[in-house]
């Protein structure tokens, strides 16, 4: 990245989210949200479908978010963002930044059609998906991005049989100029990605891995730690795809050429992986190894 990386010391101090909101203690989304809003800035309009964020936003007539925000129906997020953009163009207010902020269900499942449409139309907005890997707001049901073998209330005994849907890849296939991943454990990396996204015209998609203590079954104390482990084991990778060019960023980039933590270390920290046996763990380890072998090749310019 040519641009200078933000540090804790120069990350803006001003908060855009009021305290005393309804997010759970140790909520990964809260970390992501407060950091993302700092990056978006005051001249922004948010669009939010039902999700934990709706609860965090607050109950009428009090709002936790200090930015204008349009709450919309589950399937309509990206279309609603399109509508705000159209109004801003009609009113000759091109400087207003429009950002959609949805959960993984609202992005990868019910919201995918509208998101695909908006990406294909080239709408000039940032779509942020905070991925806590299940329908947490409704009580931990499986979503398209729930990883394989995870126990949820709709995959209660044998875990989810299917793989995690690779939403960033699907969005990247639209040929948009900026797709990135981030993690709640690396707020500065996320901040920089949102800031960069603001400077790029057209649709921008940022997929943020967001640990959820209640839904994943760990103590709230470890939200950041577990998010970090997902990256350090190579299960969730931080990257950018700018104008089609893929590159790992931040902590993931630093892992190139190095030994990663075994995925098993990550799995034992969370109750949701309790249904996994050694064979499943090894199979997933093999998948991660293969994926990383690919990254190494890209980094060496092999393919």
């Amino acid at each position: 990245m040519a641009t200078k990386k933000t540090t804790i010391l120069n990350l803006p101090e001003e908060e855009y989210v009021h305290p005393g909101n309804r997010a759970c203690a140790g909520c990964g989304l809260s970390i992501v949200y407060k950091t993302g809003l700092k990056a978006l800035g005051r001249d922004s309009i948010l669009v939010v479908p039902p999700s934990c964020l709706t609860v965090l936003q607050g109950l009428y007539p009090i709002a936790a978010t200090q930015l204008p925000c349009l709450n919309v129906t589950f399937a309509s997020t990206a279309a609603a963002a399109t509508g705000v953009l159209a109004a801003m163009r009609a009113q000759k207010r091109p400087d207003v930044q429009v950002a959609a902020w949805a959960g993984d269900g609202g992005t990868s499942d019910i919201g995918l059609q509208a998101l695909s449409g908006a990406c294909e139309r080239g709408e000039d907005f940032i779509f942020i998906c905070y991925d806590n890997e299940a329908y947490m707001n409704t009580g931990v049901q499986r979503s398209g991005t729930t990883p394989q073998h995870v126990l949820t209330t709709t995959t209660p005994f044998t875990g989810k049989h299917q793989r995690k849907k690779d939403v960033p890849a699907i969005i990247a296939a639209h040929g948009i100029d900026y797709v990135a991943t981030a993690s709640a454990a690396y707020p500065l990396d996320f901040y920089d990605k949102v800031v960069k996204a603001k400077s790029i015209p057209g649709p921008k998609y940022i997929h943020v891995h967001t640990p959820c203590p209640a839904g994943w079954g760990f103590s709230p104390r470890y939200t950041v730690k577990i998010g970090r482990m997902a990256v350090e084991t190579g299960l969730f990778d931080l990257y950018e795809r700018e104008k089609g060019q893929f590159r790992l960023t931040g902590a993931s980039e630093k892992m190139l050429g190095k030994k990663r933590k075994p995925v098993a270390e990550y799995f034992i920290t969370q109750n949701r992986f309790k249904g996994m046996d050694e064979e499943k763990i090894q199979s997933l380890q093999a998948e991660v190894d293969e994926k990383w072998a690919g990254y190494e090749k890209i980094a060496q310019g092999v393919c």
Partner: protein, 397 residues
């Protein structure tokens, strides 16, 4: 200026004259030519608007909801299953009090597929909190689209402008295009009291509790039920707004005068036919014929369906011998929805007229004027009440 064009073009011209800023639409027969015309007007810069070719009807209304929330005048159009696909958003637009206008080019609903006209689509959405206006010809289409924005923006509620698929949408007939300056006099630019704006951040449509709750200053804000009750009372008041809008329109353009129900030879009529849309105009030829034969009959074309102008309807029908309700929709397992509403409006009138319900034209089943004539004539002669069993016209069992 008069032109001869299709009904869909009349609607598009109305949208252009109304100074719509954001159009979002998804193609569906028989609405498509309206959408095509609007994209043509925008692409050729004859119309200064944002045209958003969305990927579904759900998104079409979503774009309008957001654009309207952000303070722009927004329009969409659809038919049949497209309207049903919007269902969730219809409720949302009304609940969020957004003055969106939508043309519903009426078409039957699948399954089985049909592309032809009936009123099942719009009638099935009558409880969404949208105002519904029905048109009988192209002049009414263009005039009503313009009026719809005035009504919507006064009440802050969305309006459906309904007109018959193919019968009006694809048929060519002459109509007058109002002068742009006159339209601007009638319908000033959209200046909402509130809109999404970074300068005064508000969080719109947040979760609302069953009970009222204090706001940040300690003042009591309404609960969900108060908000919904207010939508209802404001829609009840819309009946008057529709009348006022019609008066204002007539002052400028010379057309109008019957905002709720259009009457044709009803003043002295013993028997009256009630219907909506182009059918009420087709019925006029039947009335002419029967009047020649000395039958005391007239036709009411209902223009405003939601909110239901119950007082106007009750007053219009009180004291008649026979009320014959002809409609192109059916509440399966009961009767025509308009029939139910009319019966309800008559409850408490001094002289309950005899009443009958005729269902016809479903899925575009041809409505022969001769068949209408026979049905009306027979019903007038029989002078019988059939309040619980609709008759079907043109059914070939």
């Amino acid at each position: 200026m008069h032109i001869i064009e299709a009904g869909n073009v009349a609607a598009a011209m109305g949208v252009k004259l109304a100074g719509v800023q954001v159009v979002a639409a998804y193609p569906i027969t028989p609405q498509t030519p309206l959408t095509e015309k609007l994209s043509e007007l925008v692409d050729s810069r004859e119309m200064d608007a944002q045209y958003i070719p969305v990927e579904s009807e759900h998104s079409a209304l979503s774009v309008c909801i957001a654009a309207s929330s952000a303070g722009s005048r927004a329009f969409t159009a659809t038919s049949a299953n497209g309207l049903l696909y919007m269902n969730e958003q219809l409720h949302w637009a009304a609940g969020a009090r957004l003055p969106i206008v939508m043309c519903v080019v009426n078409r039957g609903i699948g399954a089985p597929w049909t592309v032809w006209n009936d009123h099942q689509d719009a009638m099935s959405q009558r409880d969404t909190g949208w105002i519904q206006l029905y048109c009988c010809d192209h002049q009414q289409i263009i005039d009503t689209v313009i009026q719809a924005f005035a009504i919507a923006e006064t009440v802050r509620a969305p309006v459906m402008v309904c007109y018959d698929g193919y019968i009006l949408s694809h048929t060519y007939m002459p109509f007058d295009i109002p002068d742009q300056a006159d339209v601007e006099k009638f319908l000033p630019a959209f200046t909402p009291d509130w809109a999404l704006n970074p300068q005064c951040p508000a969080n719109l449509n947040t979760v609302t509790l069953p009970e009222p709750r204090a706001d940040v200053r300690g003042n009591t804000a309404p609960g969900y039920m108060e908000i919904r009750h207010n939508l209802h009372t404001d829609l009840r008041r819309t009946i008057d707004v529709t009348a006022d809008t019609d008066t204002k329109f007539k002052d400028i353009f010379g057309r109008g005068g019957q905002p709720f129900i259009e009457s044709y030879f009803c003043d002295d009529a013993e028997h009256v036919v009630v219907c909506m849309g182009s059918l009420s105009y087709q019925m006029r030829d039947v009335i002419d014929e029967l009047r020649k034969e000395g039958v005391s009959v007239g036709v009411y074309g209902l223009r405003l369906y939601r909110p239901f102008p119950d007082r106007a309807v009750a007053e219009a029908l009180d004291g008649r011998k026979n009320v014959l309700v002809f409609e192109k929709a059916l509440s399966y397992g009961y009767e025509g929805p308009l029939f139910s509403d009319i019966k309800a409006a008559l409850y408490g009138t001094d002289s309950l007229p005899k009443i009958r319900n005729f269902i016809l034209g479903l899925g575009g089943r041809e409505i022969r004027t001769r068949a209408l004539y026979q049905a009306v004539k027979t019903a007038c002669n029989e002078n019988q009440s059939k309040p619980h069993e609709p008759d079907f016209i043109g059914l070939k069992l």
